[in-house]
Amino acid sequence: MESKIGAGMTLTQEAAQRRVADIISAIPVVLTEYRCPLCARVFPGYSGLREHYEAEHAGAIAPIVVMLMLNGKGCEVLIEPHWTLKRTLQFRLGLTGTKHMCDKGVCGSCTVIMDGRPVLACQILTAECEGRDIQTIEGIAADPKWKPLIDAYCRWDAMQCGYCTTGFLVTAKALLDRNPNPTERECREALAGNICICGTYPRHSQAIIEAAAAMSGGGVDG
């Protein structure tokens, strides 16, 4: 089985940018196979799967196909109706930059931007996301516009173990979208819903303010 991990993980920012762009472009736009979640049989078309459900799993709720608009790209996913967006991102689309820490809507690790607002992917059903514009950390990191934000996070160590970091970054991006020059207080308020168990809090505002200055053409202090 091919491994995508290991060597090469010391990515420069440019290499990381390319890697996430590759991850996004690898997501198929249309489904070509339909796998039964209950018995793993694979069907070439959705109707085949539905018929299989009626015949073999009568009473069970069949999976549905949802069209998502993710990081500017439309893609079909086959999911069960109760699946959260978080689950779909990880298990159907290979987008594992969206993390989950609490699964209860309190930690912000699963933050994505939907129609311009930060939302918690562990609390949203995928079925509700059809046609909505969704940005994940991969889309943000692949976009050269947000290079200064990613860079400032790395230069300020606004991460320790790094598990919560992408959730903070997505929230920070949503903040800068609506307020390109936030104060320290505004940064803290915007990030109030993100938990970092490692306690990196003071460095986030530093990074965001530095990124804001760089993005508006201001200088960056080392």
């Binding site: 990515l11 018995c39 298990f91 594992t96 173990c161 306690g199």
Partner: protein
């Protein structure tokens, strides 16, 4: 006691070490969302596994009928504790608990315990449905979640086994034999000096209680693993090889568990999550190889947040009796405590044996009696940990503040009076690092001590302040094996990593760059799980110790490079001959007939010391690929010599100011202050982060965190992130920090570790005492503060 040797202590100029804003080597990988933690891995055709978990605090599975569950579509496998495959495996990870228990059995000794059955299915929902369809016969047993109840002679004995095989921190380490276990209680006692004589010599005796709540491990990422078996063309012998992700750093433990040679066990991921002295493998990290072998498919098993609310610090009640003279000099200490033994297999960290590592060793007073009852419970499991236990000095910090209050003297003066000198407990000289920290700390905080309840802030709230000192420990517990390589003119530092919340690899790379005259970016880090160098051994203080080892290695490589540059200059290739294919070799540097001492390395070039403008880049200086290795640890590691706290080199001081609202009981931490002397500041942002982190950990466990149980059922009531509150962005106070560099440690450039020593301070609780004159047990929630003030909640 600055005893650092050679280039270590003599380097005065630093180009790289001490620099800020050098990104972590994996930071862009993390920030871009590329980094995969164990729970992130998804493989084609992957199955999911879940354990049966106990709804009872103490119970036995008498029987289980799996037939209905097996018939459920999507169920791939079900294994029980009686299955031969399960009986054969045993854990080899760090657990520090007695190892006699089967890997899984039919005993559930805490609510949520993995017990008796594991289900494997196409997805997690099917696992859940299958678990519901098991027909399990439980025998529910009485439970102990209240330690006071558990230590009563008539209490139900939950675990009759004998405590065997002392492990690190186990009862009785280095002390007289302990009394035999009685009921649920084991003993850990240690007596030094003559406490009775000490109390006779005292003019005052105070007694007080200190409660330390249990608090949760700091793992943000749900623990678990994904495993699969594959044909490895490089190691075809002996069948398939194992690939496991999610058990980072524990590849060898997994290999041993499944009887595999290391080369047939692959683990590439680098991201462990916040592993702060929590090295224990969870069952979800150990089981997937077995299930993958049985099913022939990749298997993922990941704990939920509720499943992984493990302790990093167990509950403890301390009763202290302290004698002191008119000046405030402590003459005797009696420390009686009751500690949670946790469930079977819990780490024994935090017991009296650990206290030899520091708490009382910094005092001039040698009359110390410590008696600890360790009560078996059904509260939960503590995996290794120790971050917060062995160095928890706050029973003495409290004494210092109580003595100060009694005598009307500044606690800093009381601390100074009681602190022994640098070399031994009989040394009465001041400790230079302590004096420097205190002087800077007083300035930083505008320190003006007042008696309890004596100061109000302009807004009417009561003001309280606290202070504590600690040593920055000479940890250096582990040895390190490292190597460096010059390959095609580039310096490579191979390491297995991993990343666990401390920028240890980076600190080592900075040292290599410093010693080799290179920049931080010049050092190529080759992460490879097969390498042996991992700069994390012995806790995050291991960073400074491993940096010392890496520094030695860098100097060996440096000498090799200089020798090779001279050799190449002395015997350059004849143009047109001897270089085989490819472009002609570059001309050597102007080093003919010189000695290594005549040369240096500056900005990636080998140069003449006498004229640094004359030189050539590495690639031109030698066509050779060169290697250097070094194995060892820094000299005079106090932890391994048993002298921790008895010799004092680098110290730190911490401060806290609070405001207490008498009407609402609310406590606001106005700020924390830390003045620390880590000997030498290596990577400043790392130090700042670690200090913030431990201050916020302290804030959490002093004001917010505790485990709550339903007394009747023994069920945990708050093992989720809604009900168990960790500090968030708007909760955390300002932390002011200042670093001193006395270069008195034993690790690289005279550095010492810092993180353990500031973990789990009682600064907030002591500051509350200074504000209101009454002790409040942590977590100091408003209701507890009001009841300490004899007031009711205002609503």
């Amino acid at each position: 006691m600055a005893d650092i040797a050679g280039v270590n202590g003599q380097r005065e100029q630093f180009r790289v070490v001490g620099q800020r804003n050098l990104p972590g080597k994996l930071s862009y990988t993390i920030a871009s969302g590329v980094a995969q933690f164990g729970n992130d891995f998804v493989l084609p055709d992957m199955l999911h596994a879940k354990f049966l978990r106990s709804p009872y605090a103490n119970a036995r599975v008498v029987s289980v009928d799996t037939e209905r569950a097996r018939a459920l579509p999507g169920v791939a496998d079900i294994v029980t504790w009686l299955d031969e495959d399960i009986v054969r495996i045993s854990s080899h990870g760090e657990s520090f608990g007695p190892g006699t228990r089967p890997w899984i059995d039919n005993i559930a000794d805490q609510e949520g315990a993995e017990v008796a059955v594991i289900v494997v299915a196409e997805d997690e929902d099917t696992c859940d449905r299958a678990l519901e369809m098991l027909d399990v016969q439980w025998e529910v047993l009485p439970h102990i979640v209240d330690l006071h109840r558990g230590r009563q002679p008539d209490a139900y004995v939950i675990r009759p086994q004998v405590r065997e095989a002392p492990t690190f921190g186990a009862p009785g380490m280095g002390g007289p034999p302990n009394p035999p276990k009685r009921g649920n209680v084991a003993y850990s006692n240690m007596i030094s000096g003559d406490a009775e004589a000490g109390f006779d010599a005292a003019s005052h005796i105070i007694e007080y209680d200190l409660y330390t709540p249990a608090f949760a491990a700091h793992l943000p990422n749900p623990s678990g693993s994904v495993a699969w078996w594959f044909d490895d063309p490089y190691h075809p012998e002996g069948g398939k090889s194992l690939h496991i992700e999610g058990a980072v750093r524990e590849r060898m433990a997994i290999a041993m568990m499944y009887g595999l040679p290391p080369e047939k066990t692959v683990q590439e991921g680098l991201f462990m999550g916040g592993k702060y002295c929590d090295w224990g493998l969870r069952k979800s990290q150990e089981i997937t190889p077995l299930l993958a072998r049985r099913t022939g498919r990749p298997v993922r098993c990941v704990n939920t947040r509720e499943d992984m609310f493990d302790f990093i610090m167990k509950q403890r009640y301390v009763h202290m009796k302290v004698g002191f003279n008119e000046e405030g000099l402590i003459t005797a200490v009696e420390d009686d405590s009751i500690a949670d033994g946790g469930v079977w297999g819990s780490s024994s960290f935090g017991n009296v044996g650990d206290l030899t590592q520091g708490p009382y060793n910094t005092l001039k007073c040698k009359n110390v009696t410590q008696r600890m009852e360790i009560v078996d419970s059904n509260r939960g499991k503590m995996y290794v940990s120790g971050q917060h236990c062995p160095f928890n000095w706050d029973s003495i910090t409290m004494a210092i503040h109580l003595i100060a209050e009694k005598l009307g003297r500044d606690p800093i003066d009381i601390a100074r009076l009681n602190l022994h000198g640098p070399n031994s407990q009989d040394d009465i000289d001041p400790v230079p690092s302590f004096e420097a920290c205190v002087e800077a700390g007083k300035k930083l905080m505008g320190w003006q001590w007042h008696r309890a309840g004596a100061k109000r802030l302009p807004d009417g709230r009561l003001h309280g302040a606290s202070f504590r000192y600690q040593m920055c420990p000479r940890h250096s517990f582990s040895s390190y094996n490292c190597k460096l390589e010059l390959r095609n003119g580039v310096v490579h530092m191979p390491t297995q990593g991993p990343l666990f919340g401390v920028f240890a690899v980076e600190c080592n790379a900075m040292v290599v760059a410093e010693e080799l005259g290179l920049s931080y970016d010049d050092i190529q880090i080759d992460f490879d799980y097969r390498e042996t160098f991992t700069p994390v051994g012995g806790g995050s203080d291991g960073t400074t110790a491993s940096a010392w080892v890496m520094k030695e290695c860098a100097n060996i490589l440096k000498l090799r490079i200089l020798e090779a540059a001279i050799e190449y200059a002395n015997d350059p290739p004849v143009p047109g001959f001897g270089h085989g294919f490819g472009p002609p070799p570059p001309p050597p540097g102007p080093f003919r007939g010189l000695a290594p001492d005549d040369l240096d390395i500056v900005e990636g070039r080998v140069v003449l010391k006498s004229d640094p403008s004359q030189g050539v880049p590495f690639k031109q200086a030698t066509p050779k690929n060169l290697f250097a290795t070094y194995s060892g640890r820094p000299p005079l590691a106090l932890w391994v010599t048993g002298q921790m706290g008895k010799q004092l080199d680098t110290m730190n001081t911490a401060y806290c100011e609070v405001a207490v609202d008498e009407e609402t009981g609310e406590v606001e931490i106005l700020r924390f202050g830390v003045v620390a002397d880590p000997g030498k500041v290596m990577r400043p942002i790392s130090l700042e982060s670690q200090i913030d982190q431990v201050m916020f950990f302290s804030q959490g466990c002093q004001l917010l965190e505790d485990f709550v149980y339903d007394e009747k059922t023994g069920v945990k009531l708050n093992n989720n992130m809604i009900d168990y509150k960790k500090p968030g962005m708007m909760d955390v106070p300002r932390v002011d920090r200042e670093f001193l560099e006395t270069r008195a440690g034993n690790a690289a450039y005279g550095s010492n570790g810092i993180s353990h020593s500031l973990a789990n301070t009682h600064l907030a609780i002591i500051a509350i005492y200074n504000a209101i004159g009454v002790w409040v047990d942590p977590p100091a929630t408003p209701d507890k503060v009001l009841s300490a003030l004899n007031k009711d909640m205002p609503f």
